[in-house]
Symmetry: C2
Subunit: 336 residues, 2 copies
DNA sequence: CTGAAAGCGCTTACAG
DNA sequence: CTGAAAGCGCTTACAG
């Protein structure tokens, strides 16, 4: 790889002049500039962004940690993140860690070591201390979707409200025996949905019915198995709420296998809507999250913090986390 | 952020000693080491990997460019890539560029500038020159799934064979009027599938039937619309082959909307199988790709090339691209 | 065992 | 308009 020095030699001038010419950072004589540009072309020179960042103290890179990308909101959130980051000249380093606390820890430790200026994370919730540590160490940070620390900025939706609205809607459609397929309490979206579901059920004097199966992967297979379990638990079941589209898919399949017609005999709502819902054989009524917007907003907040840390004046003002809550919307389709 | 210098000052020794202690690169007196470790802890020092790479001349990072991640093989391929990269202490920089040639070009140019040691790419096929250029500039490179340049290593599957096998299987199930939903010819997997389809149809003296609609996004909606178009084009249609699961999903939906039963009246096969296929209401018969393995293999090949470039002796031997072809398997499910 | 020095590729005051 | 020099944070021969 050609370096600045090579270019300078060929163009017969100093590296500093080359640097100036290439960055337009001060006037360079047209002739000199022409020679330099020619040399650049001839040597096929490409500046090394990494070393450049050494001086600016910034890498113009944002790290992103999510549990999964395939068949999940995070796939779309990432789209928003990449879009907005690019627009601002930032690269993104994306890492999916599943629900693996240890792996997440490793990734965090790796990213903190000079890879990124900022971090956007939807994590396991188990590394909160480490997150605070990294944040205190001068890396901007924003939590998305999953919320675990009040002292760090966040972008998410009101999951309690989502749970409540989905349940209310299902009740308004005549369901009385409604089962919830969800995930572990210690992850905020699951907890929120559960609370909202409980509130709605209570207001309507209905009985709570939840399942939980041992599994780390809460996707399609999980939805399928939980739906079967619910069917076992309550023969009068007339509604199934799932946390995600993946689970909804699995539930629809389980119902089909059991010869139960949707929505006639059973209604289904997914609480994390997604492109796929409207293309299923039985389209899935769901709460659609503004995934792209979540991603974009998270980048914006993160960049603000980065700018703030760079600016000596601003730095004096104490850091105040920003918490943004976006709205989900009910998409009525065939399943309920 | 604390630097080496800060640690050295606090531990009362030279930066070089600190460096040695931290990297275990030569013996350091236990007392000194203890002091250093203490200082590291007190200052919460974390080495700056980026500047370190300045010396090693390596960033231990692999860039990945794919067209999309959500609802696509690439989502799973990425899993394999991240897994294998991590195992070898490499970070991955993932970028999805859709079918946007210009965006892809920008991303490539950005990545080449010191971000990565190697590049794994499934691209638009429109930036082949640039790819060769980057490769020649000393960045290891492997093409995956989409193949566009013989001089660069590759990992993919035999799409022609996939198209052929899928078609043959469908014919063996009694289909005679088989339509193909695919994508543009200039992208190798689409081309391969088309050729295989044609070969099988020809061998059986059947008529070719393909659709193409104007669209950049060849996902669920595209599958849906193309299926409708096929239905229009041939009222005797009894089989639909789709390039991807996303398209398969859309096709199944379109058939449902038209009151056509699968597989009784119409058979459907997707030629890029995926987790989702087995959880649909009508499970989707498909050619399953070894996505994870594709990702892992690509990383392995890329790392070999990186190692090779680092090693002065090996460098002398001329670069020879490696081309690996993996096998797809037919998963028989309900739709055919 | 550990300093002092040079260097990785680049940027940026400082002179002139 | 453009050199020469210092420095970003770290590593690594070279002495001692």
């Amino acid at each position: 790889m050609a370096t600045l020095k090579d270019v300078a030699r060929l163009a017969n001038c100093d590296v500093s002049t080359v640097s100036r010419a290439l960055n337009n950072t001060s006037y360079v004589h047209p002739d000199t500039k022409a020679r330099i540009l020619e040399a650049v072309k001839e040597l096929n020179y490409h500046p090394n962004v990494i070393t450049r960042s050494l001086h600016q103290g910034k890498r113009r890179t944002i790290g992103v940690i999510v549990p999964k990308i395939q068949l999940s909101v995070f796939g779309d959130v990432i789209l928003g993140i990449q879009q907005e980051a690019r627009k601002n000249g930032y690269a993104t380093l994306i890492s999916s860690c599943g629900e693996d606390e240890k792996l997440e820890k490793d990734e965090l430790n790796r990213l903190r070591e000079g890879f990124v200026d900022g971090l956007i994370i939807a994590g396991t919730g188990k590394n909160t201390r480490l997150l605070r540590d990294i944040h205190a160490g001068g890396i901007a940070m924003t939590q998305i979707v999953r919320f675990s620390d009040n002292s760090i900025s966040s972008v998410d939706v009101d999951y309690e409200l989502i749970g409540y609205q989905a349940t209310q809607y299902m009740i308004s459609k005549g369901c009385r025996q409604i089962g919830l397929i969800n995930g572990p309490d210690y992850i905020s979206p699951y907890k929120g949905r559960l609370l909202g579901y409980k509130r709605a059920m209570k207001e309507n004097d209905l009985d709570i019915l939840t399942v939980e199966l041992p599994s780390v992967n809460r996707g399609t297979g999980y939805g399928h198995d939980c739906a079967e379990k619910l069917l076992d638990m309550n023969s009068m079941l007339d509604g199934i709420l799932t946390a995600t589209d993946g689970q909804g898919l699995g539930a629809l399949r389980a119902l089909k296998e059991n010869g139960i017609r949707v929505p006639e005999q059973m209604k289904v709502i997914s609480m994390t809507g997604h492109e796929i819902g409207k293309m299923l054989e039985t389209t899935l009524t769901s709460m659609e999250l503004p995934a792209i917007e979540i991603g974009e907003t998270a980048v914006r907040i993160t960049l603000e913090e980065i700018t703030c840390m760079n600016d000596a004046n601003l730095r004096k003002t104490r850091y105040k986390p920003k918490h943004v809550t976006l709205e989900a919307t009910l998409e009525k389709r065939e399943s309920c």
